[in-house]
Amino acid sequence: MSISINDAKHLIESAWLLVAVPFLVGFLIILGLHKSKPLSMMISIGAVGYGFIHALLIMLSLAQHSDLGPWQVNYDWFTATNLRLCMGYLVDNLAAMMLVVVTAISLVVQIYTHGYMKDDPGYSKFYAYLSLFTASMLGLVVSTNLFETYFFWELVGVCSYFLIGFWWQKESAAQACLKAFIVNRIGDFGFLLGIIMFLSITRTLWCESPILAYVSNSGRDLGSIIIQAYNAHMLTAPMLSVIALLIFLGPMAKSAQAPLHVWLPDAMEGPTPISALIHAATMVAAGIYLVARAYPLWLTPDGSLHSLGLTVIAWVGGFTAFMAATIALSQFDIKRVLAWSTVSQLGYMFVGLGCGAFSGGLFHLFNHAFFKAMLFLCSGAVIHGLHGEQDIRKMGGLFKSMPITAICFLIGTLSISGCPGLSGFFSKDEIISASIEHNLPLGILMIVTAAMTSFYMFRLFFLTFVGEFRGHGHPHESPLSMTGPLMALAIPSIFSGYLGVNLPALIQGRADTSFFPSFIHFGSTPIFEEPNLSVMAYSTIAAILGFVLAFMIYKAKSLSFNTAIVESKNTLVQIAYKFSLNKWYFDELYLTILQKFILPVYKKLWETVDVLIVDSMVNLSGLIALGLGEIMRYFQNGRAQFYAFIIFFGVVALTTYAYYFVIMP
């Protein structure tokens, strides 16, 4: 399909509609349309369906007319000397890709919701939240500057709390909501501090152009400003590292990277469509997207890839990928296994970005969105078919009763495990080869993780869909409104990988242009890495190893060291197993720190202040004010004279401090 340049221009210029329409729909449903269930559903799906088509057309336009992007419009919001806060929208290749992902996943999730939430009393409200959530994420995607990103970032956060806590009746849902909130606050604290620090250092350089802009024609965008500031000796490499790491706290929390990952598995408490949306397209993708968007922040000031910021990103990602994979090995809740696999795959994406494989990391985000959304929706179909059962020990043999779900799940499993030819294979391979080149130990860790990924995903598949049914009741296939989205997602899950690979060239063993990396890249020209056939071989072997192990243990039952591990008397093995089962004790660690350290200190502090200082002073001042005491005695609480005393005391203390400790010397 070819799009004329004029049409392309119109499409891009009207990109703001993409954000405005779902926002409007969300508010309309809240304000009154919620009375009619079908109407709420239809306009909500209609809005995001329109968004998907528009986003797809924008992407096509940009692909055909590369001279059109980046396009941006800024509206002044607050202006002053050297400070021009703007809201606006920016459409370039990166944003277009993300728009497609978000709208596509949101569309299928919303169609699926119709089947999944049909009998829920909050049906319409759920659609309203979904629309708002999608709109906030789209707003984040088209943000023109770090500031706007921060606003939508918070909005995405707030919507997610409502959705995670949607079933507020459940105590665990309310707890999960709180946890997500607190962890994200810690991240946002760093994010905001980083922005303020960066702004206060570089404020004068922005002159009258929109502040903290990602892209500009006049050389006032993040990357150029950093170089200018560096050359003017306003910014040094360590300063930039500090700022970058502070800002990185934000993506760490949003994209669930260790040690701020603890909220994501608990966020499973929300309804399954929300898990799919959060895990695939919205919330967690925001972190990756921000790192990619503001990529110059993490480089060295002169633009080199060998910076502290990127190294930290790579290692945080690597550690998280490994840790989450080990945890996923031993979980029994179908959604939790998937949740930990998301944490692990997000780790991969950060490794990709951190090792300089900019398009590789984003390519994985792109592929992952489709198959992970599908896997989650499949798990939702399973839970739906089993009337709320989530424990895979009580499943098995579901292939017969729900074949469509099972086949889709198998496709997702193959894809995420890195089966050659499916989407996950290509992007994961790019990341692994970049990490091997960048840092060998990290690369090896990634290959080991790949093997574990394959193992736990097939374990999940075999336990759920193969063998004998171990639960109660009669499992049944879901209605078309649920299986339809699954089948729709199966297509990109298989084929999206071919966007990023030039097959004829690959067969000859060389790299050549392919759509994805030439569409999305950092810097002026795309980098085509040599395909590393040996790396492909290693990761394939790792994936097969994981598959074979899972097959022998859970299908053929010819190996039984899973029971051996669980029942092992060997303390070391037991410790390792417990470590994995209990998610490396992160929750316990945080709780202990909070309960054993922070709360007691907080309590002790006030007790000390109260008993030691306040009470003794009350007594002291009581003596001093003995004359006044006659009036005070009728007073039930003897502290009024203490209040007066503390005022005088404060005056003396401050004067003493200011004069004798600061001014005199």
């Binding site: 507020w168 303020i196 620090m197 907080y602 209040y643 005022i647």
Partner: protein
């Protein structure tokens, strides 16, 4: 110019104040002479504050006018503070209309005293002489004490009143002590003279006496602003006083103190900026830490707002400490935004307490199921107080102050050890805002997500309008929310302009210390 024209000038200049005084006179006797039309009393107040702020708006462009030989100055600061206190008064009167059932037969007097407090803040903002300043401040204090103890049957209210009285007395003594030094050294009570003498006389800013004067002044200002350690009265009085009074104390009387801080610290003692920066920085840190940490463990909604107001003042101090027009106008912006969000929260608290007789945070749970508008309105105010950008008024206020603070240089803080005090303050502010966000949004999440509490369950589905008039507080809440949304989106520039205009006169009189840009 002859005496007559002088007099008429002064009269015209003070016309906005006279309007309020007229309302005071009418409302004090109205209930006595026209008991049948009792319901009209608050309307005099509403009308007077409205007319007065309109008149003040006309004065905006008259430049700087000195009345009574320089005792009272009308400049942009006076006018804008006057308008703002009138708006606050308007909102508080609206709130009180939903609170009259607690005031029994004395509602008329309540409005009288409230209007007195308002007029005293207006006089404070314009006073440029120590005696007038002192008289206005004392009028404000006594009015506040009387308001705090207005519920004569309520023990808590009486306790609040007495505690406030004693603390006020203590602080009056420190302030007078400070004034006596100033007069003794400079021989004048006029600000302009003091400012000159302070520089030219032998009083080097290094002397112990000038430090003492500053600390004494700060203690009085700090008391009204409830800065730690002069904050001790705040929680008791906030909890015990009638809720509209608490709302007034949380912003109205602070506005007066803010005006003194600007006039005295920034202008008169502008040369000694180094020393009061040092002192105020420490107080800011203390306020932010203490306010937020204690607010965290509060069960009573009003008490929580009380402690958090201490923390908010800590944030504003960062702007004042910065000292240049950038920082001070950021603080002023914060004060305006804080005024609306805080008053909105108090109006919502009145609405809730009227129906449930409860002030416990846990009782707010699930409010959205019974009173969706109230729950959403209160949520909006609390989210803004927490500094989350929805709508961004509260966030912008914090952001302006913090980024101003970040640009401060280093000052010695202990013996010869210097520190980059600005970034230190900002880091403390951001760190302490984490618990703040927690305790504010805890209420929001409780209201919107949790299961309804017993109290909320017991609420009737439709509001029983015959019991208590809720219209006043609802109007107040709605007004605050509209203002918040506007400031957050369309009126950011305008509000910032207002803040800048209001502090501009301060920087005309002495050399500019800020070579930097302005917001």
């Amino acid at each position: 110019m002859n005496d007559i024209s002088l007099y008429s000038n002064a009269f015209l200049g003070l016309l906005p104040e006279f309007v309020i005084v007229l309302a005071i006179l009418i409302s004090s006797v109205w209930n006595l002479f026209v008991p049948k039309l009792k319901f009209l009393t608050p309307w005099f107040g509403l009308l007077a504050t409205f007319v007065s702020s309109m008149m003040l708006a006309f004065q905006l462009n008259i430049g700087t006018v000195s009345l009574f030989n320089g005792v009272f100055t009308i400049d942009k600061l006076t006018v804008i503070f006057g308008i703002f206190i009138n708006i606050i008064g308007f909102i508080v009167i609206l709130m009180t209309m939903g609170y009259e059932q607690h005031l029994k037969d004395n509602a008329g007097e309540f409005y009288t005293i409230l209007l007195t407090a308002i007029v005293s803040v207006m006089l404070l903002a314009g006073s440029s002489e120590l005696v007038l300043l002192f008289v206005a401040l004392e009028t404000l204090s006594i009015a506040c004490v009387m308001l705090a103890g207005f519920e004569k049957q309520d023990v808590k209210s009486q306790e609040a009143c007495l505690k406030y009285l004693i603390s006020t007395a203590a602080v009056t003594s420190t302030l007078l002590y400070g004034f006596s030094f100033i007069y003794g050294l400079t021989g004048s009570t006029m600000f302009s003279v003091i400012q000159e003498q302070f520089v030219t006389l032998s009083m080097s800013p290094h002397s112990l006496i000038s430090v003492l004067i500053l600390v004494l002044l700060i203690s009085a200002v700090g008391f009204k602003l409830s800065i730690v350690p002069f904050h001790m009265w705040t929680p008791d009085v906030f909890e015990g006083a009638p809720t509209p009074v608490t709302a007034f104390l949380s912003i109205g009387s602070k506005l007066g103190a803010f005006a003194i801080a600007l006039r005295l610290l920034v202008v008169v003692f502008g040369k000694a900026i180094f020393y009061w920066t040092l002192i105020l920085s420490i107080l800011a840190v203390l306020s932010m830490v203490v306010g937020n940490l204690i607010a965290l463990s509060q069960k009573s909604f009003k008490r929580m707002l009380a402690y958090s107001s201490i923390a908010h003042i800590g944030y504003m101090l960062i702007g004042i400490v910065e000292g240049s027009s950038v920082g001070v106008s950021a603080a002023m912006f914060y004060l305006i935004v804080y005024g609306f969000m805080n008053l909105g929260a108090f109006a919502a608290a009145i609405l809730f307490t009227n129906e449930t007789n409860s002030d416990n945070i846990d009782d707010y749970a699930g409010l959205i199921r019974k009173r969706p508008i109230l729950a959403l309105g209160l949520s909006l105010c609390l989210i803004n107080l927490a500094g989350l950008p929805i709508p961004p008024a509260g966030f912008l206020a914090k952001f302006f102050v913090f980024s101003a603070g970040f640009n401060m240089g280093t000052i010695p803080i202990f013996f010869n050890y210097s520190a980059h005090i600005g970034s230190f303050l900002v880091v403390i502010a951001l760190l302490t805002s984490i618990p703040a966000i927690y305790y504010y949004t805890r209420v929001v999440i409780k209201m919107l997500v949790s299961e309804p509490s017993d109290v909320v369950k017991a609420l009737p589905d439709k509001r029983q309008s015959q019991m208590v008039s809720q219209t006043g507080p609802i109007t107040a809440l709605g007004f605050c929310i509209v203002m918040l949304c506007l400031i957050g989106t369309n009126l950011v520039d305008l509000t910032m302009n207002i803040s800048q205009t209001s502090i501009k006169p301060l920087y005309v009189s002495h050399e500019s210390r800020s070579p930097n840009s302005e917001f």
